[in-house]
């Protein structure tokens, strides 16, 4: 762990914080982070508590599990309960509630639902079970979509015909646009997501400064990364600049991963519309298989109900995902809705904002977490 210290150096943090405080004086700035990992760093290290009152952080729709609507979970269950189907899913998705329970409950009722780590594992299950139909519940942003695309290409090359995809991949840019178009929220800039940008690079974010006049800085996950990215945003505002900057050059190449982008484009096309939990329908915000890959499309192979199910009345995930309210402002937060009995999706995935608040004991506005920007002694 010889490398870690430099990203947690309290002296460096204090220095950045004093610059932030100077630059933010006399204003109130609201920055949105769009990545579940950032949400964690912010709570784990108590970054909200060390920032001056003039800088507020709000969380955006950065968790792909959190944005899948109830109706799609019900569709997944309908496919899973079709006789002769082995339904495969990432672990996180198995606990996401639909209108008709979750996938774990479907499994308890007798459906063959299996957790997989990788879409390739689902393909392997298909090859080993030629008399069954194996369906993979594909979710995720551009970080996981290329993996699914490669898997479909492999299924095609190997002539595996009993494998198909229930595709729910979403893209990161359209929800940012939806948030920027929403009248509910006034923002001053974005902390751009870290790992999604390793795939798409920084170019897709250029519309944020160009069309909406706001700065965006792609940030890493260490506390100093977040503080430095906030400082970069404030510097841009102070100097009258407005652009996309990359604080996380250690992992994010300017142009992303060209090979991954090429394969994404080869296998997928944009859906005209896709429903996002809490955000409603967003046009061109999700991926579906191109026509050449129709034999591997579970939505064409099985009868999928496709019914739209309204979110439970008590659930305010939409407002949380848009950054309009903080998790503790939701009426059921920490009472009816906990990680053990989630009502909304933001509590299911450990990457969700409600789960992050809950796990770090943030139940009210004033409840603080210990500030951990101190150097932990490292064994020599």
């Amino acid at each position: 762990m010889k490398f870690v210290d430099e990203y947690r150096d309290p002296a460096a943090a204090r220095q950045i914080l004093s610059h932030i405080t100077d630059l933010a004086e006399g204003h109130h700035y609201k920055f949105m982070e769009v990545c579940g990992g950032h949400t964690h760093t912010i709570y784990k290290h108590g970054i909200e508590n060390v920032l001056p009152e003039t800088v507020e952080l709000v969380h955006g729709p950065g968790c792909p599990v959190c944005v899948i609507p109830m109706g799609r979970v019900d569709d997944a269950i309908a496919v899973a309960e079709t006789p002769g189907v082995i339904f495969t899913s990432f672990g996180d998705m198995m606990r996401v509630p639909g209108g008709n329970g979750n996938l774990l409950e479907a499994k308890a009722r007798g459906a063959d639902v299996r957790m997989v780590y990788s879409p390739l594992d689902a393909l392997r299950i298909a090859i080993a079970n030629p008399d069954k139909q194996v369906v993979f519940f594909a979710v995720g942003f551009e970080t996981t979509a290329p993996s699914t695309a490669v898997t479909v290409l492999k299924a095609m090359q190997k002539g595996v015909t009993n494998f198909s995809l229930f595709c729910n991949h979403v893209t990161i840019v359209p929800p940012l646009k939806a948030i920027l178009e929403s009248p509910d929220l006034r923002l001053d800039g974005f902390l751009g997501p870290g790992h999604v940008s390793t795939v798409i690079g920084n170019r897709p974010y250029r519309f944020v400064p160009q069309k909406y006049g706001l700065p965006l800085v792609t940030a890493g996950f260490e506390p100093l990364d977040i503080l430095q990215a906030i400082l970069m945003l404030l510097r841009q505002i102070d100097e009258g600049r407005c652009e996309v900057e990359n604080q996380y050059t250690r992992a994010v190449p300017e142009h992303g991963n060209p090979k991954a982008l090429e394969i994404l484009n080869q296998v997928f096309e944009l859906r005209p519309h896709f429903e996002w939990r809490g955000l409603g329908f967003i046009s061109q915000s999700a991926l579906k298989l191109r026509e050449e890959f129709a034999p591997w499309d579970a939505e064409l192979r099985f009868s999928v109900p496709g019914v739209r199910v309204a979110d439970p009345k008590a659930c305010q995930c939409g407002e949380v995902l848009k950054g309009v309210i903080k998790p503790w402002e939701c009426k059921v937060f920490g009472t009816a809705c906990t990680p053990e009995t989630p009502i909304g999706t933001c509590m299911v995935s450990s990457e969700g904002a409600c789960a992050a608040y809950y796990n770090y004991g943030r139940f009210t506005k004033h409840q603080t977490v210990p500030v951990e920007l101190t150097r932990t002694p490292q064994p020599a």
């Binding site: 995720g140 790992h195 999604v196 260490e222």
Partner: protein, 92 residues
């Protein structure tokens, strides 16, 4: 899933089929490296990569790998789940 987990390439099993063995914090598993093999310098044993759902998505240096691993470890359950999932072979 969304957060990549860093691992070190310990063996290239089959370059044509993009298969390599990667070590994540002492746990080894086969991953697909097809999306990073064309990067500058190719992919070699000893290189560090960020892995999402069984695919190497980007090459990183050792320093970044250490700090990312440490970050994920602090998340507790996220790390435990990721390592548990990473070490599961597909139940056939």
């Amino acid at each position: 899933m969304c957060l990549g987990i860093p691992g070190q390439v310990v063996e290239i099993i089959d370059p044509a089929d993009h298969r390599a063995t990667v070590d994540v914090d002492g746990v080894r598993r086969e991953v697909n490296v097809g999306l990073v093999m064309g990067d500058a310098g190719g992919l070699n044993v000893g290189d560090w990569v960020l892995i999402h759902v069984g695919f190497a998505m980007t090459k990183i240096d050792e320093e970044e790998a250490a700090s990312t691993l440490d970050f994920i470890k602090q998340l507790g359950s996220v790390y435990d789940d990721e390592i548990r999932d990473f070490s599961t072979e597909a139940p056939l």
